[in-house]
């Protein structure tokens, strides 16, 4: 096609039927104009030489004006398109072109976020983005209940494929998309674009909400794309465009508020029936947005396992997992869990600082919830009663055992366990000193503090000591006072580490092996009754092991000197062991403050 077949201004090919139109226009003494740009192609007169020069000058000015309008639609500067301009504009000409482009700019479209807000929960949306490089289709949706709000690219059609004939060079192509002379017939372009859009609609936009957004509003060919989709999909929504639709979608989905509240799954014992139940500790209320932070305190489940599943779930019934991670929680005191919200379903754990995504799935975690929480799951109040007197070596072993236990509890439970240490020396034999206080110790306090109290307990004077009894009844009286009051779900334990049973409160006990009564008339059975009423488990570590039954012979018939003191059966009602076979780890297990190695770990942290 030579230049005579094109409009000298817009370079759109002339209609072959234009010749006849020119004849008719000449017969009617009228001008012949370009159908695309309106440039006068021919008139009924024959111009003279001077008029021809004036016409050439007018064409050049019109060409520059035409090109400048396209450049003003394409960008804020004409320099990127200077090579394609037919002339060099003055600043006044460029500003005039910009004013004209701005006046023609269409009204602002609603943002894509508003379109998403209007969608119901869980509904999908296909976004048709007209961009500099071509057309891209994305699918996204309304804010889900639990999972992250995302988007996915469905298809990308570059401009050359959409509209053959457009140059590969991006600036040149943008200049032509903006209306620069391209030689493409607008009618043909509309038909071609319409065909391509029809293919995309049929493939991706059937029975789904669709929105169209153009990054190049006001440019002829991009507008043709928008127009093609609106023609094909009457309910299509038009949103304000952005240069990079993917970046816009990324930003939009992150800034959406969450539809449902989020909470951290934790275990507790249900008040009333005591069954284990999973509860949610509030983290983010509905409407929270990216950038919000929340924190809760939980207790690491007891046990040797170091990893704990931190599951953020929706406040829904049933709850849906949002994010589950495996974390290393600090031992002991209530651990802090701090979470940042990066968008719907997007959570970032700030504390603990190291989390991994290798946690079991939500259904697996739920299956691991026991019917009842083990005793180890509860906050613990432990009173350690230690006999300070007796044989020096044995007394030292008793103190060492309790010291090891306190160190272990400090490591494992920290402030969750409150421990009191109570020790007793012997009652003075001489009646003159009978009112001397033989009990010392401290209050319920963290294990580390209790360990210091233990270290400060007095040592007995050297020399003989009472053979049959020790003032255990005085220590039990102190323990009963310490473990009094509302239990509030705490596990209460009395650990007696002693070798000699208590003095009777009155009388002399066994007439064959009599013992003097407590000078303070303290009745150890009354103290035990108080402890039992307060729900205290009684565990004893005695110097000597419990005598084994001789087959065919009842224990009471055995040697009286080897007969076990009946007090140990009471004070070791929950468990009894002996000093020779006890160690801190095993003792912690039988005390119930640390789980047995065979017990399956709890799946979630505990409500503090």
């Amino acid at each position: 096609m030579n230049s005579a077949d094109r409009c000298p201004l817009c370079e759109v090919p002339l209609d072959p039927a234009g010749g006849w139109a020119a004849v008719e226009a000449a017969a009617m003494r009228q001008d012949v104009r370009c159908a695309a740009c309106g440039w006068t192609l021919a008139g009924p007169w024959r111009p003279g030489r001077a008029e021809r020069a004036a016409a050439e000058a007018a064409l050049s000015a019109a060409r520059l004006e035409f090109d400048l309008r396209a450049a003003a639609r394409a960008g804020d500067d004409w320099l990127p398109y200077a090579a394609h301009l037919r002339g060099r504009p003055t600043e006044a000409q460029w500003q005039e072109a910009r004013r004209e482009a701005a006046a023609r700019r269409e009204a602002a479209r609603p943002p894509l976020g508003a379109v998403l807000d209007a969608l119901g929960p869980g509904r999908a949306l296909v976004v048709v983005a007209v961009e500099d490089a071509g057309v891209r289709l994305f699918v996204t949706g309304g804010v889900p209940a639990a999972g992250p709000l995302g988007f996915r690219e469905l298809a990308a059609v570059p401009w050359p494929a959409l509209l053959p004939g457009l140059p590969e060079d991006a600036a040149h192509r943008r200049f032509q998309l903006a209306g620069g002379p391209s030689g493409i017939d607008p009618a043909w372009a509309d038909a071609t674009i319409g065909g391509a859009a029809g293919d995309l609609v049929r493939r991706y936009c059937t029975s789904v909400d669709t929105a169209v957004m153009s990054a190049m509003p006001g440019m002829p060919f991009p507008d043709a794309v928008v127009r093609a989709f609106t023609d094909l999909l009457p309910d299509v929504r038009i949103a304000a465009g952005a240069p990079d639709a993917a970046a816009l979608l990324e930003r939009i989905v992150a800034e959406r508020p969450i539809a449902l509240s989020y909470g951290l799954a934790a275990l507790r014992s249900r008040p009333g029936d005591g069954t284990a139940e999973v509860v949610r500790l509030p983290l983010f209320p509905a409407g929270s947005r990216a950038g919000d932070e929340a924190q809760v305190r939980v207790r690491r489940p007891p046990g040797p396992g170091e990893q704990t599943a931190l599951a953020v779930v929706t406040w829904d019934d049933p709850p849906e997992p949002v994010r589950i991670v495996s974390a290393r929680m600090p031992r002991g005191a209530a651990g802090l869990v701090r979470v940042a919200l990066d968008g719907p379903g997007r959570l970032r754990f700030l504390e603990p600082d190291t989390v991994t995504d290798d946690a079991p799935a939500w259904p697996d975690l739920l299956r691991r919830v026991p019917r009842r929480l083990p005793a180890t799951a509860f906050a613990t109040e432990l009173v350690c009663v230690v006999e300070l007197g007796g044989r020096a070596e044995t007394a030292r072993r008793r103190r060492d055992l309790v010291a090891d236990l306190l160190e272990l509890l400090g490591d494992e439970l920290g402030g969750t366990a409150r421990v009191a240490v109570v020790g007793h020396l012997d009652h003075p034999i001489h009646p003159k000193y009978k009112n001397r206080d033989v009990v010392s110790g401290g209050p319920l306090q963290p294990p580390d503090d209790a360990a210091r109290t233990l270290a400060d307990l007095p040592s007995p004077p050297s020399g003989p000591f009472g053979a049959r009894a020790a003032p255990l009844e005085d220590s039990l009286d102190r323990a009963a006072a310490l473990l009094n009051g509302p239990r509030d779900g705490r596990a209460r334990i009395l650990l007696t580490v002693a070798g000699r049973p208590p003095h009777p409160g009155s009388g002399h006990g066994d007439v064959i092996r009599p013992v003097e009564p407590c000078p303070h008339r303290l009745n150890w059975r009354q103290s035990v009754a108080q402890l039992e009423a307060a729900g205290v488990r009684l565990v004893a570590v005695t110097d000597e092991p419990a005598p084994k039954d001789v087959p065919g012979q009842a224990v009471p018939q055995q040697d009286a000197r080897r007969r076990d003191a009946p007090e140990w059966a009471v004070l070791g009602a929950a468990h009894r062991t002996d000093l020779g076979s006890a160690d801190a780890a095993g003792l912690a297990k039988v005390l119930g403050v640390l789980p047995d190695g065979d017990a399956p770990p709890l799946p979630f942290p505990l409500v503090p």
Partner: protein
């Protein structure tokens, strides 16, 4: 009864001085006899405390240095140190004291027209000539006499022997002891109920010795029994095993005052002795012992006492017997077997002997009467 007494022996070495004196009255001698750990040594040690603090108008003094020192040492240990007297480990020299007191007697005046008998206080002096022998010497079992191991349990022993003492376990010592007992006018036989429940050996200790005594002593002039007066002391009344039994069987006489101590009346002591082990495995051996006593000693010359050398504990504030806290000993340990018997038990409160002086006074008032 021709065995020279310690007082005679003591006098033998003294130079004769002054004009010749009429021969002194033959001393009335009392021998102490019982199984190991029955409390013979502590019984002796409690005598002086009982004499001074028991409400009796008597005075007990030693006849020789050993006896005086024994009195002083044992009184200090029991009363001040609140420790038991160490067990007898070898046959000590005979201990002799003089018990000075006053008796109400019907006495015929030596002068005057009306010479019928009148009741009047008569001062008297009794010489107690005791030999505190290790209990093992009284055993009928040779191994006991040879070994004489210290016993354990709630008792303190006078029977412990180390086996190396020169004359403790030899035949000479045994013969001397038997001759001593045979020569006594009265015998104190101590029976430890706590030991009997565990060892059942009181009869064994009794029967051999009584046969040996019979061999030397002959019979009394009025019957075929031995001539001795016998005070059978059921010891350790303060032990809960004995006291609780006595209470349960109704033998305990309530204290005369709130400051007094419970007792078993002498008139019911034999009955209590018979009932003490009724229904237990120790009943038959004790019956054998009782039959042996009745077989060898005249009933009129035998009396039973329920005694306690240290008595019951009295709270220093309340200063009276309290049934909920009366045990006067506290057993101690060093964590091993290192404590000797006298260190193993400490006395909690004041020593208040029960029926310790009474059997001695009964013997003193009857032997030679």
């Amino acid at each position: 009864m021709t065995e020279p007494s310690p007082t005679e022996e003591a006098r033998t070495g003294e130079p004769a001085a002054g004009p010749p004196q009429p021969p002194p009255p033959q001393p009335r001698r009392i021998g102490l006899w019982g199984a190991p750990t029955c409390g013979k040594t502590t019984f002796l040690a409690a005598l002086r405390i009982a004499a001074e603090e028991g409400g009796h108008d008597v005075r007990l003094v030693g006849c020789n240095r050993a006896s005086t020192e024994f009195l002083a040492d044992t009184t200090r240990q029991l009363k001040i140190e609140r420790r038991f007297v160490p067990a007898t480990r070898e046959l000590p020299p005979n201990l002799a004291w003089q018990l000075h007191g006053t008796q109400i007697k019907k006495v015929r005046p030596e002068t005057g027209r009306l010479r019928f008998k009148r009741r009047r206080p008569v001062p008297y002096t009794v010489t107690l000539d005791m030999m505190d022998a290790p209990g093992g010497m009284f055993s009928s079992r040779p191994e006991d006499r040879a070994a004489r191991e210290p016993s354990s349990g709630l008792r303190f022993s006078s029977s412990a022997g180390d086996g190396e003492s020169g004359d403790g376990g030899g035949g000479d010592a045994e013969e001397r002891l038997v001759r001593h007992l045979a020569g006594c006018d009265g015998l104190l036989f101590l029976f430890d109920p706590t030991r009997e429940r565990e060892m059942n050996d009181a009869y064994a200790f009794f029967q051999r010795t009584v046969l040996q005594i019979s061999e030397l002593a002959g019979t009394s002039g009025v019957d075929h029994k031995l001539p001795h007066h016998l005070a059978v002391c059921i010891t350790k009344f303060d032990h809960p095993e004995v006291y609780e039994r006595a209470v349960r069987l109704g033998y305990v006489t309530p204290p005369a005052s709130i400051f007094g101590m419970p007792r078993v009346d002498e008139t019911r002591a034999l009955e209590f002795f018979e009932d003490l082990y009724r229904g237990t495995h120790a009943h038959d051996p004790v019956n054998s012992l009782l039959r042996g006593i009745r077989s060898h000693f005249g009933e009129a010359r035998t009396r039973y006492f329920v005694t306690s050398a240290i008595g019951f504990y009295r709270d220093p504030v309340e200063n009276r017997f309290q049934p909920e806290d009366y045990l006067n000993i506290a057993e101690q340990s060093d964590g091993g077997d290192g404590l000797a018997g006298e260190d193993r038990f400490r006395i909690r409160g004041d020593v208040a002997p029960i029926n310790v002086l009474e059997p001695v006074m009964w013997l003193a008032g009857n032997v030679g009467a």
